[in-house]
């Protein structure tokens, strides 16, 4: 009796399993994070408490993650800071904004902060953090700047921290090099050149040894 019931259930389960692909067709409401984001309009995000995903603060000893792009380009030094892999995303004509990315290493014994910059091609240069929360993209201005901890390395990269070029006066074209000034709270200002790259090339940053990047 019990056995029979069991085999019935087994049979039902088998059907359920074979029928499973049919239920894959079922439209799904976006997941929990989604509806939360929809209804909880007040939910804030403290950029200072939670770093954006993909941000790595590496110990100085592990800072040998150079790639070809970083090696082809000279690093810039200002005070105790070394800035490498300085690049910006190419824009379509009429795009009002662009993102700038780089790796900043602090060889000093005190924190410094990237607080802003200036560029001839942009009306305003700000330091931003971006992140995906559920399926909502959020971006915040870092009012106190981006901290570069003593002995640490911070990556500005797509999907995370970036230099935000606003009020662009002209498009940034792939292959160009664009001069801009970065300003740090303690180290002061430094002029750097942003290598303008396509969206695809931007992704392969100095995380691996090969530098061929994981294009996804």
């Amino acid at each position: 009796m019990q056995m029979k019931f069991l085999s019935l259930a087994l049979f039902a389960n088998l059907i359920a399993a074979t029928g499973a692909h049919a239920t894959l067709d079922t439209p799904q409401l976006p997941d929990n994070g989604y509806s939360k984001a929809v209804f909880d309009v007040s939910h804030g995000w403290d950029a200072h408490k939670e770093p954006a995903p993909g941000i790595m603060i590496l110990a100085a000893s592990s800072g040998h993650g150079t790639d070809h792009a970083a090696m082809n380009q000279p690093g810039y030094t200002v005070g105790d800071l070394v800035i490498t892999n300085v690049r910006a995303g190419a824009t379509v004509p009429k795009a009002p904004v662009a993102g700038g990315y780089m790796v900043i290493k602090n060889n000093g014994s005190a924190s410094d902060f990237l607080i802003g910059g200036q560029a001839a091609f942009a009306g305003d240069v700000q330091i931003h953090e971006m992140k995906l929360q559920g399926d909502v993209m959020k971006m915040r201005e870092l009012a106190d700047g981006l901290e570069i901890p003593a002995g640490g390395e911070v990556m500005l990269q797509p999907g995370g921290y970036h230099v935000m070029f606003m009020k662009l006066s002209e498009p940034l074209k792939e292959g160009e090099n664009r001069k801009a000034t970065l300003t740090f709270k303690n180290a002061g200002s430094v002029e750097v050149e942003f290598a303008v790259k396509s969206r695809k090339d931007l992704k392969s940053h100095g995380m691996g040894h090969s530098g061929h990047g994981s294009s996804n």
Binding site: A95, H128, V136
Partner: protein
Amino acid sequence: MSALHRRMGIWAASAALVLAGGFVWLATTDAPQQIAQRVVQSSGIGQPFNLVDHNGNPITEKAFEGSPTAVFFGFTHCPEVCPTTLYEISAWLKTLGPEGMPIKAFFITVDPERDTPEIMKSYVSNFTDRIIGITGKPDDIASLARSWHVYWKKIPLESGDYTMDHTASVFLIDAEGNFKSTIAFRENTDTAVAKLRKLVSPSS
């Protein structure tokens, strides 16, 4: 003895699993259609709207009917997500080739104050001619976004400027106007293309 116990325990546990499976199956056996119905209703896709396309022409919910449709919400003052997504939608459609021709794609601004039809057109047309930009009165955009359960929020910047937080997924709607699924930001290209392919020919 204890080995036997364990074996019995495992057997009992798997029997319980099997039973649970059966119950799940029973509970959901003819549900997919009802679930789909519920999703469509709750997502509000198909609700009437009156907006303006990037050529300055009126556009309504009818634009999302009759063809499989991909819809993305964003704004032109967007450094990464929106240009990346517009670029990717164009790439997906290119990959699909003739098979993807029936797909219509729309980019709806959540920043209608800055994104006029002219700005939308000059921005979107730099990516592809396959995507139509949509803007309109802020209230009309807001009610559409709300009915689709799209999150968007204006975030002031110190400079007096502002930016927008917004849902970053692409919504897929079938030719009958039913919401089918979403493509997440940074979703694997093959998966995205497969979802679009399925949207065009659901049976394949």
